[in-house]
């Protein structure tokens, strides 16, 4: 009974974070700011959904399964790397940052 509550709360938390990440993708004004939503909020949302799945299966007939930890570790390791590749290609394509962004002269040409 308690585990059902824990699973429900973790699932709602994760779903809300994934939704917020995608809202950030739509709402924010320039590419560099849009990158913050998916790299952070969505990763945490995924982690909490996977933990919810782990708690759920630990209390069901299937028994404890720890493969979810693998997916969580994989996402945590790869999210910053794909973010880095994306921001590098955005700088290479000279995308316009939002007006009023400070420190634009810190970007060097490559």
């Amino acid at each position: 009974m308690i585990s059902e509550w824990v699973v429900s709360i973790l699932l709602l938390f994760g779903g809300a974070f994934i939704l917020i990440g995608s809202m950030g993708l739509i709402k924010l004004p320039d590419f560099f700011m849009r990158l913050h939503g998916p790299t952070k909020a969505t990763t945490l949302g995924m982690a909490s959904i996977l933990i919810a799945a782990m708690v759920f299966f630990a209390n069901s007939k299937t028994g404890l399964s720890v493969k979810e930890i693998l997916i969580t570790i994989f996402l945590l390791i790869t999210a910053p790397i794909s973010g880095y590749m994306l921001i590098k290609s955005a700088i290479h394509h000279k995308l316009k940052a939002k007006e009023g962004t400070k420190g634009l002269d810190n970007i060097e040409d490559d």
């Binding site: 560099f32 990763t43 945490l44 399964s65 720890v66 493969k67 910053p80 973010g83 921001i87 060097e108």
Partner: protein, 178 residues
């Protein structure tokens, strides 16, 4: 910084441990057969692949590394809550900025770990390491290196640089002794 491991037959002890755990996790069991197979892979895969890679610094303080991992995990949760609040709030109030953070780390792998930590934690995404190695001419020593980061909502540049240097860079220097 130490590049050479203590035993020749175990060139990368922590990667071996990681491989061992990953094999058990993939099979989701601790039966004796899988334990033997995991030990076999953990010893022989690093031996075969070691000569293909550049030598990389070893973790010299495993206890501190574990503590730092927990700190970063805690920071990921807190930072994500902050970023979620920033995204829900009005977009006009945000003050995005590019900031250059000077880094003292010299080897590529600690720099990569630092950049990943910065990307996952407080409202920042790391973008580039300056100077770019390709742009250096032959034999020229790389000067002071910088990490270019993009901040979603910049309040105080000095405080942010100090936070990154103290909270993430200093432990990394301690762990790899460089």
């Amino acid at each position: 910084m130490r590049l050479q491991a203590r035993y020749r037959w175990l060139p990368t002890p922590f990667r071996s441990l990681f491989l061992f755990l990953i094999w058990l996790l993939l099979n989701n069991s601790v039966s004796p057969g899988h334990l033997v197979l995991a030990t076999f892979f953990a010893i022989f895969i690093p031996l075969l692949s070691f000569s293909l890679r550049d030598p990389q610094p070893l973790i010299l303080k495993p206890g501190l590394a574990l503590k730092q991992l927990l700190i970063v995990l805690y920071d990921i949760v807190v930072a994500n809550l902050q970023v979620a609040l920033l995204i829900i709030g009005p977009a006009k109030k945000l003050r995005p900025a590019f900031v250059k953070v000077p880094i003292d780390l010299t080897h590529d792998m600690p720099i990569t770990i630092l950049a990943s930590c910065v990307s996952l934690t407080p409202g920042t995404v790391s973008a580039e390491v300056y100077p770019i190695p390709e742009s250096l001419s032959e034999g020229e020593e790389p000067s002071q290196r910088y990490l270019l980061i993009h901040v979603l909502d910049l309040k105080d540049e000095e405080a942010l640089i100090k936070l990154i240097k103290q909270r993430y860079e200093a432990p990394l220097k301690e762990i790899f002794q460089c």
